[in-house]
């Protein structure tokens, strides 16, 4: 994750630490898909995934006064989510997965973990991925390059601007327009 991302999170965290609860709600929005996916690696049932994710966010909120910023917020949050999921499995007398998720790569799936999604979820996910990929493929070239460098290479806007030889503001606009196009396609399938 680029340094700029850490800076944005740090600003939001500082706002939460000053008592702005809605800043935490924005952090939840920013990371809830990733946390759901992460927890979903440990817990199969959708309702349980929601419960564990909720618990993880509440634990994070309560622990924020002690968060010193030594690590990135998302790393810290992912660690809490993983521990919450493991505790959940232990409390249910189930064995947690034998292989830990690498915190640094926690935002992406660890292929060494077993796939816990059921056939139905797999089908929905596959369909969604297909739609997203097709949407990206259909994008105008400059939007496609911008979103690809961002989402697949995790480049910062500054880096993308250098690669594409255009202003940072243009990169930002292109990524936004790419996301809008992807969103439109996703909404078509519900």
């Amino acid at each position: 994750m680029p340094e700029s991302a850490r800076e944005t999170d740090r600003q939001l965290v500082e706002r939460v630490q000053r008592g702005d609860k809605q800043a935490f709600e924005v952090l939840v929005l920013k990371y809830q898909h990733k946390i759901v996916s992460l927890v979903g690696r440990y817990v199969r049932d959708q309702d349980e995934v929601m419960d564990v994710t909720q618990e993880a966010f509440i634990k994070a909120y309560r622990a924020l006064p002690r968060f010193r910023g030594d690590s990135a917020f998302y790393t810290w949050l992912f660690r809490i989510a993983i521990n919450t999921a493991k505790n959940h499995l232990v409390s249910r007398s189930r064995r947690p997965p034998g292989v830990d998720v690498d915190i640094d790569d926690g935002e992406y799936y660890d292929p060494t973990l077993s796939d816990v999604a059921g056939p139905e979820e797999q089908m929905v996910s596959s369909q969604l991925e297909e739609v997203v990929y097709q949407a990206i493929a259909d994008l105008p070239e400059e939007l496609k390059v911008a979103i690809t460098l961002r989402e697949f290479e995790a480049m910062s806007y500054e880096e993308i601007a250098q690669v594409m030889e255009c202003p940072v503001g243009t990169v930002r606009s292109r990524i936004f327009r790419a996301r809008e196009a992807i969103e439109k396609r996703m909404n078509e399938i519900g």
Binding site: M1, P2, T8, D9, L12, V13, R15, V16, Q17, R18, G19, K21, Q22, F24, E25, V26, V28, L29, K30, Q32, H33, V36, S37, V39, G40, Q46, V49, M50, Q54, F57, I58, Y61, R62, L64, P65, F67, R68, G69, E107, Y108, Y109, D110, P111, D115, V116, A117, E121, V124, L128, E129, R150, E151, F152, R172, I175, F176, E180, E183, N187, G190
Partner: protein, 228 residues
């Protein structure tokens, strides 16, 4: 009804990537608060973040080469609502945030300096007013009349003509107050060592190197001796 502009949606996209500036984050949070009650319309910060996050998540899932539990958009909204409600009711106290801790020594130091400076100025203005009043009441700034305030250039010589104090004139000036009440005199004349140091430092800073910060600027000894 809240209806997000393209500009705000672009800000949401930048926020997701950690590319929003502090002022933009502030703007988005303001909008987020305005959005309250309009969630689910597709035109709020929350809806946009959830929607963009869904796409990003789908790409992330494909990167790992596996599929996981996928929640539909409505369940994500329910989840976020549940977390928000739980947080709203939570009474976690945030008293010493990270950033403020890091900056605290500097902030405290500045606050202390400002307070000390203000205190010094008040004392200096008080002294000045007293001196002026003294001058007007007595027809001159310096008077030997009992009960009349004095600004004595003390410490230069004793009654036998010997120099007993070599402090600079300005630094050794002491003031005899106009009022007979001991408390009032003490209040005007006495500063503890720390404040004297601060006052000297301030005067030095403002007036160049006129004063030596290591010498006493305001004293009561000579005045007290006279009174005694």
């Amino acid at each position: 009804m809240s209806n997000m502009s393209d500009e705000n949606r672009e800000l949401v996209s930048a926020l997701m990537d950690g590319e929003a500036s502090e002022i933009e984050i502030h703007k988005l949070l303001q909008q987020y608060k305005l959005d309250e009650g309009h969630e689910g319309t597709g035109h709020t910060i929350r809806d946009t973040l959830l929607s963009f996050g869904r796409g990003t998540d789908a790409i992330g899932a494909s990167r790992g080469g596996t599929t996981s539990v996928a929640l539909d958009p409505e369940k994500h909204r329910v989840l976020h609502q549940a977390v928000s409600e739980a947080i709203a009711e939570d009474d976690t106290v945030f008293d010493a945030p990270l950033a403020r801790r890091a900056n605290a020594p500097l902030i405290r130091s500045r606050a202390f300096q400002a307070s000390a400076l203000a205190a010094c100025l008040v004392v200096a203005v008080g002294l000045g007013i007293t001196v002026m009043q003294t001058g007007m009441n007595s027809g001159g700034l310096f008077s030997d009349s009992p009960g009349v305030p004095q600004v004595a250039s003390s410490g230069l010589s004793s009654s036998d003509g010997q120099v007993v104090n070599t402090q600079p004139v300005v630094a050794s000036t002491s003031i005899q107050p106009a009022l007979g009440e001991a408390e009032d005199r003490e209040g005007l004349r006495e500063l503890d060592e720390e404040r004297q140091r601060e006052l000297r430092a301030y005067l030095n800073r403002d007036g160049g190197a006129r004063l030596d910060p290591n010498v006493q600027t305001v004293g009561t000894e000579n005045t007290r001796n006279k009174e005694d």
